[in-house]
Every structure is written in structure tokens, then in C-alpha cells.
């Protein structure tokens, strides 16, 4: 008892102190980092890496002298030693003078300010450092010859070498004949001196690497001489090289530590118990990750948009409407997204109603079919429609021309236009609204509609007075979802819009990024425009849902009464079937057919036009397999990391009342609402080392981008599953004596397993075929299947890319099938 009381009294103070120390520690790291940056700025080096090289080379020089070179000198007579010292000084000063005018004076200055006793060893080390970096160069053949001398011969060789340094007439050791045999005077001495160093191990790979780093990061001659001095004197300490070499990283880490300490303090202030909860650490870790990789890039981008050159300027924003191409892109994006939203919702609501509330034939089948479109990569649809509606060779245009007896002119339909793009966008984004509305309709208590019927309203009247108003919140949020998705889409406009010069904000951003600095400024402006729009919509949809979320789930689940379509039943079923054929069957069939064609302009049934070659070629290529492997790996890692975070967050959100659990939730929601290209652009601008993190051109940057975009899909799935498991199920396990972890593994885990699996796939599938972010973030070694497909489409051959597209579709369908099996039919997309 006593101990608990004591510890209770002491704990708050200890915790407060710990927080303070943590905060100060963070500040100290920031300050050090800033000092390091300042020091670096004054050093004249062109990269921070110089400090690491200097530190390591000093260690090398020091140990080489103490352990190897010094003992060899000791074997010489005093006189010889003195002569050698003189020679070294002479070689040093001429080497320095040849590097930079006044190098000799600089050397004398350095020696003068050194204590007499130290001068000798300093000059020796200076020479060693100088020769390490500047040479004379020893060819690798000679290097081998020198280093090959080993065992007993080494001592003799070294003595002979040093002697011949002093006296030109002494015969050179055999290994050196080739190297210095023809040289005389200072050249000969310099070469022999270098040979001496080389023979003592300065040729090791690690050293060579450091030398190369130094050469790269110290270009200026004066800076190079000061680097030699720093090496010889050991002016860079281990800490210093860390701090200067990683000053930006240090500042970032410092900020994170200080921020965590502050946030923890804030959380604890509200809690008052001053107990460090492990959950907070988990929250902080997630928040840190999101702050660094999601929020910082966004904020930096905002900053860059308004302070392009460090000074406030609206130029970037102005270019959005003063530069015609940009203005066009903005207009096209707004028009396309609005039209897609309107058409998509107008399609989705009647479809959802027909499929969910009427006795339409095959309603379950149609429902599954419309939902299926959701998991098809949009660019595949774009490719299909391009094949169908190309004004010259589009299959559908050919049919129409034959049907309408038009002459062999282009048209009548042209996909390379804004309406064409809107059509393709609509046919791929209406499922978003369809799913949202269908789900809400399934949840709606059917007796709400029945009450209207029994009040005397006809089925149609009921739709307009009850169903539609009740669905309004989900209708709006579905519509907004379509708007955001359409405006952030890159795949469709890049495949359909670019050839037709119908630019959108996303395609402009990608083009600008490839243009370098001015391009980056323009891209930033566009990205900020996109981001602001997305955030506004996210906010709107949140408000709409929060305000008008009706709780209409009925007490007992009842099969809704289906509206009798009577004489309309067959015509409407035909209409829906035609729609399904037009939007789903024809495009997919086109992709499949095209993949077997030799000449894309002819029918696949035309003689000699059928081949399996496209499939063989595409899937036989190493680059295809590599990108497929990349995609599978990246998507698996993303999904696995994502689902771990999702489960953690679900637990925090559903099972705890811990303060601050909504912070990561908010950030994750924001991330998923941010347009893909914006996420990618932000990462490009901040993750190339300028903020202390350099993951540019790596797989990490892609996985992080995918995580930010798709984490919420997984999280929502697990959260909703956990919210449906009453907490008493867990409590009754604990009351039966099971520990927390046992309860999680035996009760909660199995109950929500289907949702965890579904969440994993929901992250995996879009990451697997992602294109928009990949286009900006890929490097030659991190190409993914989606990007590879895009490259094939643009640069290689359409039939081949169709084979690949169908391959992707098959993989996605296979994954969907696995998911369905794994969750015993409870989930599929």
C-alpha cells in the first residue's frame, strides 16, 4: 500500500520532469542542428557529407600514422628522419601551392600557429591527407604490385623505399620500377611518397569511398585545403560530423521530439493523472508519421505557392488564370468534375433504387456488376473507350457509320474531347455514388416507405416524398465523392485528354513536374487549387452527413417490400441490361479483343488478325515481370503496414476514450481526401533531402504515398466492424478470466477477421494498380505494373497494353475471389 501511495505522489513530478527534459532535449537537437547548418554554410563545402568524410579520413590518417608509418620512420637514423621531414614539408608546400595560389603561405600560417612539438606530425598528416585526395595517381596495376608485397619482405621494401626517397641514386625496389623508374626530382619523390602511403593501406575501399565523397562535396580549392587541415588536426568530432552532416535531419528529429513532448503535455494536462499511457505513445507514433509525410509536404506546398522565392508573391496563383493553358486546365477540370458528378448521380440513384427496391429481374446480379466496376482501374476504361470512340478507327464509330450510312469520314463521335472525357469519367465514377446510395438504401427502414404507401401515395410519389429526401445526405455525399474522384483523376485525362489537348489540372501538374524549377512553381499553384477544392468538399460532405444523418435502422430486419414494376418490369430490365452492356461488357470485351489483334484497325475476326503474341511478348518481358513484382511487393507492404495502423486506430477509436485519438483519425481522413497527384507532388518537394529525409526515387516514397491515400479505406472497414461488436462480448471474455491479449486473439480478432482481410485487400487493390502517384514518384527501379502499362500504351503498342490491362483485371478479380472465399462470402468489392 505504502509504495503505491508514494509512487502516486511522486509520479506526476517525475513525469513532468521527464516531459520537460524531453522537450529540452528536442530543443537542444534543433539548436545543434541549426548550429551545424550555420557551420556548414560558412565552411564553403558544397555538401554536408564533407564533414563525415573529414571525420572518417582523420581517423584513417591518424591510425595509419600511429600504427604503420611512424614505426617505419623510427627505424631510420635521426639524420634520415630529419631529411625525410624536410622532404615531406617541401612536397606538401609545392602540392598546396600547385592547388591554389598562396597555398604555400597558408601552409606556413597553419604550421606557425601550431606548437613546435606538434608541427612535425601535423605536416606528416597533412601530406598524407593531401595525397589521399589529390594523388599523384597510382594506377591500379601498380597499386596491386605494391600491395602484393607482404610478410617479411614488407619491412625491407619500406626501408628501401624511404632510402630511395632521400637519395635518387639508390636503386628502386622492383615493384616501383614501373611506377617511378622514369621520373626524376620532385615528381619522383612525390610518386614514391604516394607509393609509401598506398603500400600502408590507404587503398582500402572504405577510404576510397570517403575520398570520393570529399572530392564530390569539396570543389572549391580553398575549401579543399581547409578540409586537409581539418583532417590532419581532427577538427571534426564524431558528434559534429553527425550534427553537421545531418543537420536538417537533426532539426527535424528535434522538432518531432519537442512536438511530441508538447502534445503529450497537452494530452496529460486534460487528463490530470499524469500517467504515461502506452496508447499515447502509439498515437504519437502514428501522428508523427502522418505529420512528417502527409502534413509537412502539404504545408510546404502551400508555403511554396505563396512564397515561391522565399518572398510573398501571388505570381504562382496568378499564373493559374493568366496562362491560357492553365486556365483551360482549371476550367476543364471544373466542368468535367461537375458534369461527371451530375451525370454519375443521375445514373446512380435510379439504378440503386431499381436494384434495391423494385422487383427488377436480376437485381442481385446487376448490383454485383455495378459494384464490380469500382475495382477496375480507371485508365483501363479509358483505353477501352479510346479504342471504341476514336474518331477514325473507333469500333463504335465504325458501327455507327455503317448503321447511319455515313461516308467514311471521321466521327460521328470523338472521344478526344471534353464531352468524351466526361463520358468516360462518368462511366467509371458512377459506381462511387451507386455504392454510397445503395448502402444507405439497404440501411433504411422499409416501413418508412410502406407508411407512405399506406397513406395513399403511389410508388413514384413515395420515391420523391420519402425515399429521395431520406437518401439526400448519402446522395450528396456520393455526389461529392464522385466530384472529388473525377477532379483528382489522372489516368483517364492523361490517356484521353492529352492526345486531344484537353488538359486538366492533374495532367498539367504531371507535365509541369517534368519541366524543372519554373514548372514546379506552376505545378504547386495547380496542386494548391486542387487541394483547396478537395478540402472544401471534404468539409462540406462532413457537414452534410453530420447534420442530416438520420438513424433509420429498424429494430428488426425485414425484407423490404419490393415495388411492383408491373408492365414496366421488362422494359426497365432491358434498359438496365443495355446500360450494363454499354458501360461494362463492351469496354471489357474491347480490351480483350484488342489484346489478340495484330492490326488494331481491323476486326479480331478478320483473317490473319488473331494472335496470342501480344500476351506472350508482354508477359515474357523481364521489365513486365519486374514491374509486376514491384507492384505486388509495394501493395503488400502498404496493405500490411496499413492494416496494422488501421486495427490500432480502430481499437483506439472504438474501445478507448483516450484523449487525442481523433487527431490521427482526422489526419488519415484528410490524407484520403487529398488528390493523389497532390500527395505525390508534396512528397517530391519535401523528401529529396532538403528536410533531412531523402527517400526520393526509392520504394519507400511510393509506399508512403499509397499509405496516405488508401489507409482510410482499411481503417473505415475495421472501425465499422469493431463498432458492431458489442463491448460486452469482450467484457464477458475478460470476466471469464481471459487476459486482454487473449480476448483480442480469441474473441475480437476472429469476429472482425473478415473485415481485417477486407481492409487489407481494400488497401492492396488500389495500391496494386495505382497510376497517378506512381507517375510522379517512380524511378527506373521502382516502376509498377500500372505505370508500365501506361508506358506500353503511350510508347509501344496498344494491343500489348490491352493484354497487360486484361492481365491486371484478371489479377484483381482473382484477389476479389480470394477475399470472398477468405471472408466466407461476407466481403467482396
Amino acid at each position: 500500500m505504502q509504495t503505491t501511495i508514494q509512487s502516486r505522489n511522486r509520479a506526476p513530478l517525475a513525469v513532468k520532469l521527464m516531459l520537460l527534459v524531453l522537450f529540452l532535449f528536442g530543443l537542444a537537437i534543433i539548436l545543434n542542428g541549426m548550429k551545424g547548418m550555420r557551420e556548414y554554410a560558412e565552411s564553403g563545402f558544397s555538401a554536408e557529407a564533407a564533414y563525415q568524410a573529414i571525420y572518417h579520413l582523420h581517423k584513417e590518417t591518424d591510425s595509419a600514422w600511429k600504427q604503420k608509418l611512424e614505426p617505419q620512420l623510427q627505424k631510420m637514423t635521426e639524420e634520415e628522419q630529419e631529411d625525410l621531414n624536410q622532404l615531406m614539408l617541401q612536397l606538401l608546400s609545392s602540392s598546396w601551392e600547385s592547388q591554389k595560389k598562396g597555398g604555400k603561405d597558408l601552409l606556413e600560417e597553419i604550421l606557425a600557429e601550431t606548437e613546435e612539438a606538434e608541427r612535425e606530425s601535423l605536416s606528416r598528416k597533412l601530406l598524407y591527407a593531401t595525397y589521399l585526395v589529390n594523388g599523384p595517381k597510382v594506377s591500379s596495376a601498380n597499386r596491386k604490385a605494391i600491395t602484393a608485397i607482404s610478410g617479411n619482405e614488407t619491412d625491407a621494401f619500406h626501408t628501401q623505399l624511404l632510402r630511395s626517397l632521400l637519395d635518387e641514386t639508390t636503386e628502386l625496389p622492383a615493384a616501383l620500377q614501373k611506377l617511378a623508374g622514369d621520373l626524376t626530382g620532385e615528381e619522383r619523390s612525390a610518386m614514391l611518397m604516394q607509393a609509401w602511403y598506398v603500400s600502408n593501406g590507404s587503398a582500402e575501399p572504405g577510404v576510397t569511398e570517403q575520398v570520393n565523397t570529399l572530392k564530390k562535396s569539396v570543389r572549391d580549392k580553398a575549401a579543399q585545403l581547409s578540409a586537409f587541415r581539418m583532417i590532419a588536426r581532427g577538427e571534426v568530432s564524431a558528434i559534429e560530423q553527425l550534427v553537421v552532416g545531418h543537420s536538417r535531419t537533426a532539426i527535424l528529429i528535434g522538432i518531432v521530439i519537442a512536438f511530441n513532448a508538447l502534445l503529450l503535455t497537452l494530452l496529460m494536462l486534460g487528463d490530470q493523472t499524469w500517467r504515461v499511457d502506452i496508447k499515447w505513445i502509439v498515437i504519437l507514433l502514428i501522428v508523427d508519421f502522418l505529420l512528417l509525410f502527409q502534413l509537412m509536404p502539404l504545408i510546404y506546398m502551400l508555403f511554396k505557392a505563396f512564397f515561391p522565392e522565399g518572398k510573398f508573391s501571388l505570381e504562382t496563383i496568378r499564373r493559374l488564370h493568366t496562362y491560357p493553358l492553365n486556365l483551360d486546365a482549371v476550367k476543364n477540370t471544373l466542368i468535367a468534375a461537375t458534369a461527371t458528378m451530375i451525370f454519375g448521380t443521375l445514373l446512380a440513384f435510379p439504378l440503386a433504387w431499381l436494384v434495391g427496391r423494385t422487383n427488377l429481374y436480376g437485381r442481385k446480379f446487376f448490383r454485383a456488376l455495378f459494384v464490380l466496376t469500382y475495382m477496375v482501374p480507371p485508365y483501363v476504361g479509358a483505353m477501352a473507350w479510346l479504342r471504341l470512340l476514336n474518331p477514325n478507327v473507333g469500333t463504335m464509330n465504325q458501327w455507327l457509320r455503317a448503321l447511319l450510312h455515313l461516308s467514311d469520314t471521321p466521327g460521328p463521335l470523338n472521344v478526344y474531347t471534353l464531352p468524351g472525357m466526361i463520358w468516360v469519367l462518368t462511366s467509371f465514377y458512377y459506381p462511387y455514388a451507386f455504392i454510397t446510395i445503395s448502402r444507405a438504401m439497404e440501411k433504411m427502414d422499409p416501413s418508412l416507405e410502406e407508411a407512405s404507401r399506406v397513406s395513399g401515395a403511389s410508388p413514384i410519389k413515395t420515391v420523391f416524398t420519402v425515399t429521395l429526401p431520406m437518401m439526400l445526405p448519402s446522395l450528396i455525399s456520393g455526389a461529392l465523392l464522385v466530384f472529388v474522384s473525377a477532379m483528382s483523376c489522372y489516368g483517364i485525362p492523361s490517356i484521353i485528354g492529352s492526345p486531344g489537348r484537353v488538359h486538366t489540372v492533374t495532367t498539367r501538374i504531371v507535365e509541369y513536374v517534368s519541366l524543372g524549377q519554373q514548372g514546379l512553381n506552376d505545378a504547386t499553384g495547380m496542386a494548391v487549387f486542387l487541394m483547396v477544392l478537395a478540402v472544401i468538399i471534404l468539409f462540406l460532405s462532413d457537414v452534410v452527413l453530420a447534420k442530416r444523418q438520420y438513424i433509420t435502422v429498424s429494430g428488426k430486419s425485414m425484407q423490404p417490400t419490393l415495388v411492383e414494376l408491373r408492365s414496366w418490369r421488362i422494359p426497365l430490365t432491358i434498359l438496365v441490361s443495355l446500360f450494363a452492356v454499354l458501360v461494362i461488357l463492351i469496354p471489357f470485351a474491347t480490351i480483350l479483343m484488342t489484346s489478340f489483334k495484330i492490326d488494331v484497325g481491323k476486326s479480331v475476326l478478320a483473317e490473319g488478325n488473331f494472335t496470342l503474341g501480344n500476351w506472350e511478348t508482354v508477359f515474357g518481358r523481364v521489365e513486365t515481370m519486374n514491374s509486376l513484382k514491384n507492384s505486388l511487393i509495394f501493395a503488400s507492404v502498404t496493405a500490411t503496414v496499413g492494416i496494422v495502423i488501421a486495427c490500432t486506430m480502430s481499437y483506439l477509436l472504438q474501445r478507448t476514450h483516450i484523449r487525442g485519438r481523433k487527431i490521427p483519425d482526422f489526419l488519415i481522413t484528410l490524407g484520403s481526401g487529398t488528390p493523389s497527384v497532390v500527395i505525390a507532388l508534396g512528397l517530391i518537394m519535401t523528401m529529396k533531402g532538403n528536410f533531412g529525409i531523402n527517400i526520393y526515387n526509392t520504394a519507400y516514397i511510393m509506399i508512403i504515398a499509397y499509405l496516405i491515400k488508401y489507409l482510410m479505406m482499411g481503417m473505415r472497414t475495421v472501425v465499422s466492424a469493431m463498432s458492431q461488436i458489442h463491448v460486452s462480448l469482450e467484457e464477458s471474455s475478460q470476466i471469464s478470466g481471459a487476459s486482454w491479449s487473449r480476448t483480442m486473439f480469441k474473441i475480437t480478432g476472429p469476429l472482425i477477421f473478415p473485415s481485417i482481410a477486407a481492409g487489407w485487400f481494400l488497401i492492396f487493390i488500389p495500391s496494386f494498380y495505382e497510376l497517378s502517384m506512381t507517375t510522379l514518384l517512380y524511378s527506373s527501379t521502382t516502376k509498377t505494373i500500372g505505370f508500365q502499362l501506361y508506358e506500353y500504351w503511350t510508347f509501344t503498342s496498344q494491343p500489348m497494353s490491352c493484354a497487360m490491362a486484361f492481365g491486371i483485371l484478371l489479377i484483381v478479380m482473382l484477389l476479389n475471389f480470394i477475399l470472398n472465399r477468405l471472408t466466407k462470402g461476407e466481403f467482396s468489392i
Binding site: 407508411a451 399506406v454 397513406s455 429494430g555 428488426k556
Partner: protein
């Protein structure tokens, strides 16, 4: 004021027959209750009358007019009935006034008249001051009354109520029960009421249709059903009852499981019988007809709930006989029987036992 005639109605979902040849006629102004355990298809009958389900076979007439049957099917909106749903189904996007006025809006009733009608019904259900509120701001009981007002506002000839009180707490349920009955009396409409609560049914109904597994077990006034149940199920479903196996004949019934003790019997049945006796129909007396040992007694305030062992049988006795309050456990007691019900032993009890175990 409507009559409802249901002729030979059968309803099946696929191969699953949930209602078998249901026949009934509900008279003008009658309060009819469809009573039964869950899954007995009482709601299905209601939905067939409303037009939300089509009967697989048979016909339904409202006021002599065929509404379901053969090729004829009148949709719910053309039947002119009022209905209150179990979940109330009050539309959350309309306020109370709009909810209630909805049936009148459909009928294009003039504004002024509509306002009068709505205010009148809101008065009936005591919600006049809530007209501007939205359902989200109302309690369950208030929402239920909104649903009732909405069902009544168009003055339907027939009012259908689907377990309207099941989501309310006990107190509110009791008061609403009498309010509904009161409204029905005032308006003189025909009401079909679905419930699984026997007390509700007893308190409100003119006639009760007791259903089990899609078959009508008995139909009659509450008194008839309670006092002269048609079979063991009816006796068992209404009130508390214990069954004893006996052998009838020679003016008495012998109970082998009660050490062969017997009670006098003047009825017509002979041979193996099921005797049903309600616990409150036993009473302690100086010289009774059954003798046993008092095993336990629970004091419940208004009554005593006792168990008396007679041979192998444990008999439940509910008594308020004050002179026998001082009995001790283990004491020899004698029981009289006020009333009993005798059924043919048709294996019903064994079947029930099977279902329960």
C-alpha cells in the same frame, strides 16, 4: 367502418408455408387482435390486408370489395387503410405536422381543412403542442403517437396496428393501450391489432385470433379464450397453467403421478387426458381433494406463490388465502380445485417438451 373478409388465405415464401388457409371476417367497429408467439405469421396477415404481401392463395375483401385474390390486386395506396408500424416509421425529414398531414397532402385536401384535421388528430393523441418538432426531438411514446395520428388523419375505415407498443416501456405501454382503445371507441373504426403480448390482447380486444405456426388455434372473446381454451396450446399461451396426466372415467380423474389421488370429474372425456389447472385455481383448505406436502412458498405481496409436492408431482399454487399465511414448509396440506380444463391426451405436451429441450 369496414368489414374485412379473408377467405382461405395461404401465404408461402418459396417452399416455406407460413400461413395456412386463414379464414376470418372482421365486423364493423370491431377491435380484432391477432395474437401469437413470434413467427406465427400474425404480421403477415396484417401485411396481406394492407397490401404489402400478396396471398399465395385465397381472397381478401374490404367492405365487400375484392382487394387481393385471383388476378386482382389493389396496391396499398388504393386500399384506404391506416397503419401503424412497429418501428413507427415516422419520417425524420418532416416535422410532426408534415408527417401527420402527409395522407391529406396525397389526397389534395385544401390547406385550411387539412390544418383543421391535423390539429384535431394531434389533439386526440395529445400532441398539439409538438406540431413543429422533428421526430428526432421526440420520445419513443410521442413518435408512436405521431404514427397513430398519421394513420388516423385520413379517417380510414380500417386501422392496422403492428405491435405498436412493443418498443415502449411498461408504464407508457399500459397508458397507450387504453388511449388506443379509447380512440377506437370514439371513432368507431375497425381495428386489427397485432401483438404477442397476451395482456394487451386481453385488455383491448373484442375478439382475439390466437395463432401458432401459421394456423389459427382459437378465435373468440378474451373470456372465451381464457376460460374455455380450444386446446393445450391456447391454455398454455394465455396465463399460467400446469398440465397433469390423468385417467378419466367413473366420474373422476385419477393422477398416477400423484400417488393415484383423484379429483371428481363430470365431463364427457374418458381415458387418457391432459388436465390443465391454473395455479390460481388451486386453494388451501382444511379438507381438500388433493393432499401433499408444502415444499416452498414465496411471498410476493399480493399473493403467495407456493409449491406443493403430491407424489412425484410438484404442483404450483398461487393463493391469497390469508388464513393460510402461517403454513410452514414441510407441513402436510390439503388442496381444493376451483376450475380445471380437460383435453384429450394427443401427445401435445410431449411435443412441446421436445421443442423446449
Amino acid at each position: 367502418m369496414a368489414t374485412v373478409t379473408i377467405q382461405n388465405v395461404t401465404k408461402a415464401f418459396g417452399d416455406n408455408v407460413v400461413l395456412r388457409s386463414f379464414d376470418a371476417t372482421f365486423q364493423d367497429g370491431e377491435f380484432i387482435t391477432l395474437l401469437g408467439p413470434s413467427g406465427c405469421s400474425k404480421t403477415t396477415i396484417l401485411r396481406i390486408i394492407a397490401g404489402f404481401e400478396k396471398p399465395t392463395e385465397g381472397e381478401v375483401y374490404i367492405d365487400g370489395q375484392l382487394v387481393s385474390g385471383g388476378k386482382t390486386f389493389v396496391p396499398p395506396d388504393k386500399r384506404g387503410v391506416g397503419m401503424v408500424f412497429q418501428s413507427y416509421a415516422v419520417w425524420p425529414h418532416m416535422n410532426v405536422f408534415d408527417n401527420v398531414a402527409y395522407p391529406l397532402t396525397i389526397r389534395h385536401v385544401p390547406k385550411a381543412e387539412m390544418k383543421n384535421s391535423v390539429e384535431r388528430v394531434l389533439g386526440i393523441v395529445h400532441l398539439s403542442q409538438y406540431a413543429e418538432r422533428f421526430p428526432g426531438q421526440l420520445s419513443g411514446g410521442q413518435q408512436q403517437r405521431v404514427a397513430l395520428a398519421r394513420a388516423l388523419v385520413a379517417e380510414p375505415k380500417l386501422l392496422l396496428l403492428d405491435e405498436p407498443l412493443s418498443n415502449l416501456d411498461a408504464k407508457l405501454r399500459e397508458s397507450m393501450r387504453f388511449e388506443i382503445k379509447e380512440i377506437q371507441r370514439k371513432l368507431g373504426i375497425t381495428v386489427v391489432y397485432v401483438t404477442h403480448d397476451q395482456t394487451e390482447a386481453m385488455a383491448m380486444s373484442d375478439r382475439i385470433f390466437l395463432l401458432n405456426q401459421g394456423v389459427v388455434q382459437q378465435c373468440g372473446t378474451p373470456q372465451e379464450i381464457y376460460n374455455t381454451p380450444a386446446n393445450q396450446f391456447v391454455a398454455d399461451f394465455l396465463g399460467k397453467v400446469d398440465f397433469f396426466k390423468g385417467e378419466a372415467g367413473n366420474g373422476k380423474i385419477v393422477f398416477p403421478a400423484m400417488n393415484g389421488q383423484s379429483i371428481p370429474y363430470t365431463g364427457t372425456r374418458t381415458g387418457k387426458v391432459d388436465v390443465a389447472i391454473r395455479p390460481e385455481n388451486f386453494f388451501f383448505t382444511e379438507k381438500g381433494i388433493l393432499n401433499g406436502i408444502l415444499e416452498t412458498q414465496y411471498y410476493l405481496g399480493d399473493v403467495d406463490d407456493c409449491r406443493v409436492r403430491i407424489g412425484e408431482t410438484l404442483v404450483r399454487v398461487i393463493t391469497n388465502g390469508f388464513e393460510f399465511r402461517n403454513l410452514r414448509d414441510g407441513q402436510q396440506v390439503s388442496l381444493g380445485v376451483r376450475d380445471l380444463m380437460v383435453f384429450e391426451d394427443n401427445g401435445y405436451l410431449e411435443r412441446m417438451l421436445e421443442i423446449n429441450t
